[in-house]
Symmetry: C2
Subunit: 230 residues, 2 copies
């Protein structure tokens, strides 16, 4: 567990340090840990208005002591709750064969479906009113060869409101079936590199309220555009 904790601490630290809006990133993580500002403030020994000031980006360049205290407090609170949140990421961090994941990223603000559609230069087969909080790009061929339905869970980033992007797809049925069997609930599934979409894939997306998008951007450009968001 210590290794998982270290990796997650690094991840949060890095995200805050490199964020245009460090306070917003802190707020995102506090919400992921399901901690109120009050509880966090109490744990850190400061006033709740301090938390609010930081999260609203009143401080443009918070010192690392503050960042460390926030993260440490969040982890201590989660520990007192039996590692409720951290345990969700344990298997993600330790068991994924990262060759399957081409790229993965969390956005600091959710994207509306239409905005996301524009980013990936995609055509919508099934629309959704759900938002996109991040994405995972998956090499479908490698995933099929190495992953079972359970392992799809590990492909998730840190929120479920995200886009799963399957590359090297022929009809799109296998990815959608896997998503359904594993009971995953991404906001959007993007199918990349196929000519005709299997109608079963479309039906699954409709039944599960998952946006379905196809795109033929080159993978490199797709990554550039997805990373260029925000």
């Amino acid at each position: 567990m210590d290794h998982v904790i270290d990796v997650l601490k690094d991840k949060i630290s890095g995200e805050v340090v490199f964020s245009e809006n460090p306070g917003k990133a802190l707020r995102k993580w506090r919400r992921i840990f399901e901690v109120s500002q009050r509880e966090l403030a109490d744990k850190m020994g400061v006033s709740p208005s301090v938390i609010s000031d930081y999260e609203s980006d009143r401080r443009k360049s918070p010192g690392i002591n503050f960042i460390r205290k926030v993260i440490t407090a969040l982890f201590e609170i989660d520990k007192s709750r039996g590692y409720k949140t951290i345990s969700k990421y344990r298997e993600l961090i330790s068991g994924v064969n990262l060759d399957v994941i081409i790229d993965m990223k969390e956005y600091s603000r959710p994207l509306r479906f239409e905005e996301f559609l524009d980013v990936v230069n995609g055509r919508a087969l099934v629309k959704t009113d759900r938002v996109v909080g991040g994405y995972t790009i998956i090499d479908s061929i490698k995933a099929i060869l190495t992953l079972n339905a359970y392992d799809f869970y590990k492909l998730y980033g840190y929120t479920s409101e995200r886009a799963l992007i399957f590359t090297k797809v022929t009809t799109g049925r296998s990815p959608m079936v896997a998503v359904r069997v594993a009971n995953l609930k991404p906001s959007v599934v993007v199918l990349h590199g196929l000519e005709r979409v299997d109608e079963i894939a479309v039906k699954i997306a409709e039944m599960d309220n998952v946006g379905l998008v196809v795109t033929n951007l080159r993978i490199e450009e797709l990554i550039d555009r997805l990373r260029g968001v925000e």
Copy 2:
């Protein structure tokens, strides 16, 4: 490469944020990237004495803007050198089955052999004057089943002056042979949980100037002690 860059940025950020001596951590990484204070200062658009002040921990809680500028500058410099340093970590980050690694950590200051010996409560079979800059704890049984000689290289952390700790060892010969075949050069090899050490293992350690240590601490206690350093 972008994924590798992100993970490494997170790693450095996390290490600085959680370090008792953030300046020392920054210095460590600047040296790993083989960048002079002058070059870094020029890249950041500040005076070299600024770098020196930070690295000597004159600033107890540097703001994240500064941290970000340091890391960004180091990466840009490395990029201009053809990713000379970052490429060393590419395969480490993307290809390791992390189930094999029980724990791994970098120390912000090198430990002398005697000090390290005390930490692991070990008995020295072969001594060395080399220092220990970090450690990797490896599950030997899993490593044997899944790794070939080349993959041992991936088990390294960020410096070669480190300790490789093999757990669940029967005689110690296989780990030492693997270390030799892969031409690895750890400072110290720790063999854990064996009753008698194979004399070939001892000979290899002597020939390669690798300290050889045995310990019978429980794994949990071993990890606690190793993590408790500093």
